[in-house]
Amino acid sequence: MTGRPSRRQLFGYAGAAAAGAAVTGGVVALGNDTPETVVVARDIDPYGDHQPAIAAASPKHAELVALTLLPSTDKAALGRLMRLWTNDIVALSAGRPAPGDTAPELAVPGVALTVTVGFGPKVFTLPDLVKPRGFSEVPVMSHDRLQPAWSGGDLLVLVGADDAVSVVHAVRRLVADAAPFAKPLWRQTGFWNGTGADGQPVTGRNLFNQVDGTGNPAPGTPEFDSTVWSTDGWTTLVVRRIKLNLDAWDELTRSEQERAVGRKLSNGAPTTGTAEHDELDLEKRDADGRLVIAENAHSRLSHHSVNDGRRIFRKGLNYVQDDGATRESGLIFLSYQADLVGQFLPLLARLDAADALNEWTTTIGSAVFAIPPGFRSGTWLGQSLLA
């Protein structure tokens, strides 16, 4: 089985909870007549070699906050902020209020709350700090229409949970505790449905109705590890805010929509196959001799077999941005890779030059962050960089 997010970091997920073992803040709701419908509240262990949200399933609700360092924030101050945030993350992940929380009742367990922290390029210009290998800014692409309001940042906090109230509360606490060190630059809120009708994890869909993320290496596999983690346990994250022109997309026929990507809308299968995780047949031609997966189809251009084996691990969050009666819809595109320069940039250049989807998508925000390893009891986020 490929493409399924690993659940090994989760305490008390379905199987274990149903057996009555080791549920952390768990609630098991079993329908009387539909025993396969199992809803399990769960907490995600904040400790580990890597920050845990990256390999975990996409959260239902998430908020990203990019912050700008205050001029007085040096290496030592950044270290103090990371110790504060580490404390906060341990408490909030378990559903306990962070120290000094002024709204402690809003911290609740069982919502799979995670926090991911990253460092923007400016952090590595501070004295004594060394930039991780393969980390760089992303150049402006020819199709980009970047807005400063959604771009850049010196620090990133990415909070996810199965409950929007918990996300908002955790973000408020983390941003408040960062106030002596950094101030918010932009915020992006998104949502994702990674659970099927039967309660099992699924890839999820973007607002174009596409199953989005099928080509990912599966967490827990050697492909995932070599794609995402550098040898010292870091990774890099590219955040791109991509506006989707839903009105123009809706004018297409279903087959035109499928042709743009080379995958079926029904289940995400390649247009050359039947099941979601069937391999693409990039040589297959139809009765008229045309390639079934077109030369400019998104799935062909982004496939590792035509990119010298380069892969990324991408996650998405749908977003809507309302201004009165006007709605903008889009995708917060998140790409994790060990080496941003070696893996992500060549892929982006290829898609920018030719991707059929470019006609209906516009990137309006872009930011990059180096993501430090996880922490264990007694250590703190970014300690290897800042201690």
């Binding site: 101050a77 902020l81 110790r83 504060l84 120290p99 002596p180």
Partner: protein, 120 residues
């Protein structure tokens, strides 16, 4: 003003009280409560200390009981870690390390009750 907040758990079968606290960074530490006086919420020293019921908890939190640090010997910066020793009515003591944070509540609420309110 500098205050310490924490949650205390008493796993024992008898009630105990937090009776005093000390730290190398503070000249004096007092246990305070917030109380209504003349229609105003004021801070005052808590007589008899902070009770932690058997098998239960005491939450020291903003707008509630807290440990006041006075006569600071050094400036405390957010993210610093401060050692504190707590002493309890059963003779036990506990050392802990607490992180320093900037405070969001209005400091005015924590003026000692001995200070007379000024009326124009």
């Amino acid at each position: 003003m500098t205050a310490a907040f924490m949650s205390l758990t008493n796993p024992g079968k008898t009630d105990i009280s937090l009776t005093s606290a000390t730290s190398p960074v503070a000249g004096i530490m007092q246990l305070h409560e917030m109380a209504m006086k003349d229609g105003k919420m004021v801070m005052q020293e808590k007589a008899g200390g902070v009770k932690v019921p058997a098998g239960s908890h005491a939450h020291l939190a903003p707008s509630r009981d807290h440990v006041m640090l006075m006569g600071l010997k050094q400036a405390l910066k957010p993210g610093d870690e401060v050692p504190i020793t707590l002493r309890f009515s059963d003779g036990s003591s506990h050392d802990l390390t607490v992180p320093v944070k900037a405070f969001t509540e209005e400091e005015e609420h924590y003026q000692p009750s001995a200070t007379p309110s000024t009326t124009p």
